[in-house]
């Protein structure tokens, strides 16, 4: 994400929050996270969703199982609508995301 420059306060806050990445990590400390902005922000690579490590190995399988947590809580960067603010009815016709994802509504910005 180094090719992106923050131009507003929110982006600057995100950058500040991920800036202090240590080079030396003690054995019992958690592994530093990659430069993946948290929240429903732009992240098109490697796919519609990335895991907390910036890859896909930790995603739900199949990935449709994770649609709703991304939709509701924006826990990971993901290209799905935002339940709380803009698209509360996006999944109103889809109770089981893995089975019924074709019933998800279309959203136009």
């Amino acid at each position: 994400m180094k090719h992106l420059k923050p131009i507003n306060k929110k982006a600057q806050t995100i950058e500040a929050s991920i800036a202090p990445i240590e080079d030396v990590v003690a054995l019992q400390q958690s592994t530093p996270l990659p430069h993946v902005p948290m929240g429903c922000s732009l992240s098109f690579s490697p796919g519609w969703e990335v895991d907390a490590g910036g890859g896909t190995a930790g995603l739900c399988q199949p990935v449709e199982r994770d649609i709703y947590d991304c939709y509701v809580t924006c826990f990971w960067p993901v290209q799905v609508p935002d339940h709380v603010n803009y698209s509360p009815d996006w999944a109103s016709n889809c109770a089981a995301a893995t089975k019924d994802w074709r019933n998800l509504d279309l959203v136009f910005p």
Binding site: A52, C60, R65, V72, A91, T98
Partner: protein, 367 residues
């Protein structure tokens, strides 16, 4: 990401009185499901019995009242509170806090002993002509009769648990002290909404431990006066991290801790059988694609690990236990519930609910 499980309390007396005929009657599971319903599920067959529609949308938390007669659900779509009668499963009260110009964000909370007030923490968003104003994190009191927020107070920066996952809320039996369990334990006076005591359990005198973090939920509660859970700790010298069993007395404001072993990457639980003898937790080693999961069986009397078994776990899930304590459930991030035998720790069957479970967890409704 594992989500905390919520499970109903088990009354020892009820087991003794049950008798053979009643014991054959299965309990009922209550789960929140997408997009806006609560399901009741027969524990014997895994079939969905009721689909309870919620006006305020997606359920994200639920808990019993202390007398187990009411169930309090919070929703996120329009930030509502729903109260159900536990016996009839009928909605007795429901409303939304959001208005066209004011929105809130909250998750979970605890009712007071009278059932009129609901304590939580939240953030308020005011829509202005050219911007949104976002409040500081607030302690809040929701009047369930007037269906609105009646009191708020700003949360001190040092106590801001909104940054973490939702804390576990508890209330002392007299209703005067609100407890928030997370990296530390906060005691909030419900009259003033001010923190009156911080259990900086970083260095408790009895254990010599620091950096204590509670990992359980209200599902581990054994009675209204006690909070029982697994938690992590590290000693102040070489910072060796261990997990152990903690019991917190809500009246005397004391806690005990029994260390059990080195901490894994993550833990979910503790689920305790109705007789109080056995506890179960899921531990995770490794992260992301290297994640491995095990069910641990713990003898509660000795706080010893007596059995464990690896299972094929989902990337994120919730852990629960049946009303009888004989079955273990893995669910969440999907439309199904995987059922494991608590004695053998082996997978038995999978129930298809037809709708994804939310992060609200699971309650056991006794027959």
């Amino acid at each position: 990401m594992a989500k905390l499980a919520v499970r109903g309390l088990k009354m020892l007396g009820a087991v003794a009185l049950a008798g053979a005929a009643v014991a054959a009657q299965a309990d009922t599971l209550l789960l929140g499901t997408y997009p806006d319903k609560m399901f009741t599920v027969d524990e014997a067959t895994g079939t969905v019995k009721q689909r309870i529609q919620l006006e305020s949308g997606l359920p994200v938390s639920m808990r019993f009242s202390n007398d187990r007669k009411l169930i309090y659900v919070t929703t996120i779509t329009t930030n509502g509170v729903v109260v159900l009668d536990a016996a009839t499963r009928k909605i007795v009260n429901q409303f939304s806090l959001n208005t066209p110009t004011v929105r809130y964000r909250f998750n979970g909370g605890v009712p007071d002993p009278t059932g009129r007030y609901f304590y939580t923490q939240l953030i308020r968003f005011d829509k202005k002509p050219d911007r949104y104003e976002v409040s500081k994190p607030l302690y809040a009191v929701i009047d369930l009769t007037e269906k609105k927020i009646v009191r708020t107070a700003e949360i001190d920066d040092e106590d801001n648990t909104m940054r973490a996952l939702r804390p576990t809320f508890m209330l002392s039996p007299d209703g005067k002290t609100l407890y928030l369990f997370r990296e530390k334990v906060l005691l909030v006076d419900t009259a003033t909404l001010k923190v009156v005591q911080r259990f900086d359990i970083a260095k408790p005198e009895t254990t010599g431990m620091e950096n204590v973090t509670y990992s359980g939920g209200v599902g581990a509660l054994q009675n209204p006066n006690e909070f029982v859970s697994l938690f992590n700790a590290s000693d102040p010298y070489v910072h060796n991290k261990v997990f152990g069993l903690a019991k917190f007395d809500l009246t005397r404001r004391t806690f005990s801790f029994t260390p059990m072993g080195p901490i894994p990457t993550d833990m979910t639980g503790l689920e305790i059988t109705p007789d109080g003898k056995d506890g179960y937790a899921v531990i995770t080693q490794g992260t992301l694609g290297n994640k491995r999961c095990e069910i641990w069986h713990i003898a509660m009397a000795s706080a010893k690990l007596v059995d464990k078994a690896e299972f094929h776990c989902r990337s994120r899930f919730t852990f629960g236990m049946s009303g009888s304590g004989k079955k273990l459930y893995i669910y969440g991030a999907s439309y199904d519930i995987e059922v494991y035998d608590a004695k053998s720790l082996k997978h038995e069957k999978t129930w298809d609910l037809g709708a994804d479970a939310t992060m609200a967890g699971m309650l056991i409704l006794k027959s």
